[in-house]
Amino acid sequence: MSTITVGAAPVPVDTPAPKRNHAPGQVRICDTTGLPVCTVAERFIRLNAVAAVVFLLVGAICALLVALTRWPAVHLLDPVWYYRLLTAHGLNMLIFWIIFMEIGILYFASTSLLGTRLASKGLAIASFALMAVGALVTNWAVFFTQQADVLMTSYVPLRAHPAFYAGILAFAVGALLGVIDFFATLYIAKRDKTYEGSVPLVTFGATAAAIIAVVTILHGAIALIPAFTWSLGLTEVPDAGWYRIMWWGLGHQSQQINVTAMVSVWYFLGTVTVGAKPLNQAVCRGAFVLYILFINLASAHHILVDPGVGAGWKIWNTSYAMYLAVLASLIHGFTVPASVEVALRKKGHTKGLFGWLAKAPWRNPGFSAFFLSLLIFGFIGGITGVTLGTQQINIIAHNTLRIPGHFHATVVGGTSLAFMGLAYYVVPLIFRREYPLRWLARLQPYLFGGGILLLSMGMSFAGSYGVPRRHWDVEFTGAQFSAGFDAGAHLMLGVLGVGGVVAFIGLLVFILLTVWAVFLGKRIVNRPMTPW
């Protein structure tokens, strides 16, 4: 077979084993994947994964209660607890669960895929400690001070308890230390020549996520440090318009770290589940570079109706630059399923256009979670995102439930579902424990993905009727004039509620199975994991 190489330098398959730089006894070879596992990094991957699942549970309980309040037929919580739990839900789900997972992914993508040791154990300890303390302090501020019901956006002049800002800042500094450890690990891998040719695509994608993370964290510091000193009474209140622009450099970009990490996870799961390899290395890497250069500008679409910034700035960011990041998602959205198709066709599943899709390993939760994540992200999150990010259309959608309908499809149906698929391999490969109740694990991605699909569609269509986001009571109970929405909107809010309950059940199943596997699962010793 003739071989062409695009982008990266060719790597002869019969090259000698690369060098290792681990201390004696600090590396093992995974019996399932054949990848080297740095045992120091392994410990921190475990710690970050466990912390991620703990905060996922906190955020999920808040999510259920919030969804049951947005469903007018139930309308569960009073307004104080509704806004309190909405604040906690956003922070725990969008920041703590996902970034703990991402730091674990960075350690894996650098040490195992490049065959190197972790650069600094001390940095990893400091990173985890700061992140854990920061997340706990922020949750304490939200739940126990009764002075932090400011939602995740915490727009000034809403003022939260100082511990709220201090916790987020500590978490961000911890995450930054983890990212620095990742870059240092890339450096020593290159220096010690532990790999041949270019870094694997998954590591390249993780590097893109790490670069975006640095920019994100700097924006967070610029926005939150003045808010923190103001909450202490040391400085004047920051300018509200300036704060919103800086805050979205944190708030939206943190979701772009998620997108980039999620795409890396797609490539990884494509490889481990069906043996897929990227369709074209140069194009895939180019798409990650587009993310680095342009995806941060997408944060501008949060202030499309803000009078404080000019039309030229809005139009340039959201109608030109942002589409270069959309192009990157379109490239990945094509190359990832195409690489799966090529791999399955090579295995003989060549019947018709979609014979490969019918024969895909849908009983493998790693595969089903990954592919459902791809479909929900692309068809629901992607289509709605590009449309809502258009300046003119944004006028009829801004601050309606259509916006959460979009980002629940990207961040929850996309990123969280992909990370769940990753967990079905992380637990057997890193914790070396088997999942129990495998039939339930096979069902879980469908339950969670289906629930999120209902939730997102319910939100999107209710928002199309004009139902506002974040609002505690869209019926305006007790108002002197008749207000509220017609039956169609209520039907969609009901779909939102049912979807929320189904997704919560799917999430609870994931947490229970994962906790059971980690602590009580059958040990995997000197043998590969049982194939899904």
Binding site: V11, T32, E196, Q281, F334, V342, T384, I396
Partner: protein
């Protein structure tokens, strides 16, 4: 073949690595869905925002 070997081989590409007709159809369905949703939104905007 173990994933570690798959990852080492990933930087080699051959011409038949690019034959993915099913994915092409999926991509076209996505683009058609986007076009319908996008222009339906422009129609909705035109319904509430009259240009005289």
């Amino acid at each position: 073949m173990k994933p570690a070997e798959d990852i080492r081989r990933q930087q080699q590409e051959s011409a038949d690595d690019h034959h993915a007709p099913g994915t092409l159809v999926l991509a076209l369905i996505l683009l058609a869905s986007f076009a319908i949703y996008y222009f339906a939104n422009w129609k909705a905007l035109a319904d509430v925002w009259h240009v005289r």
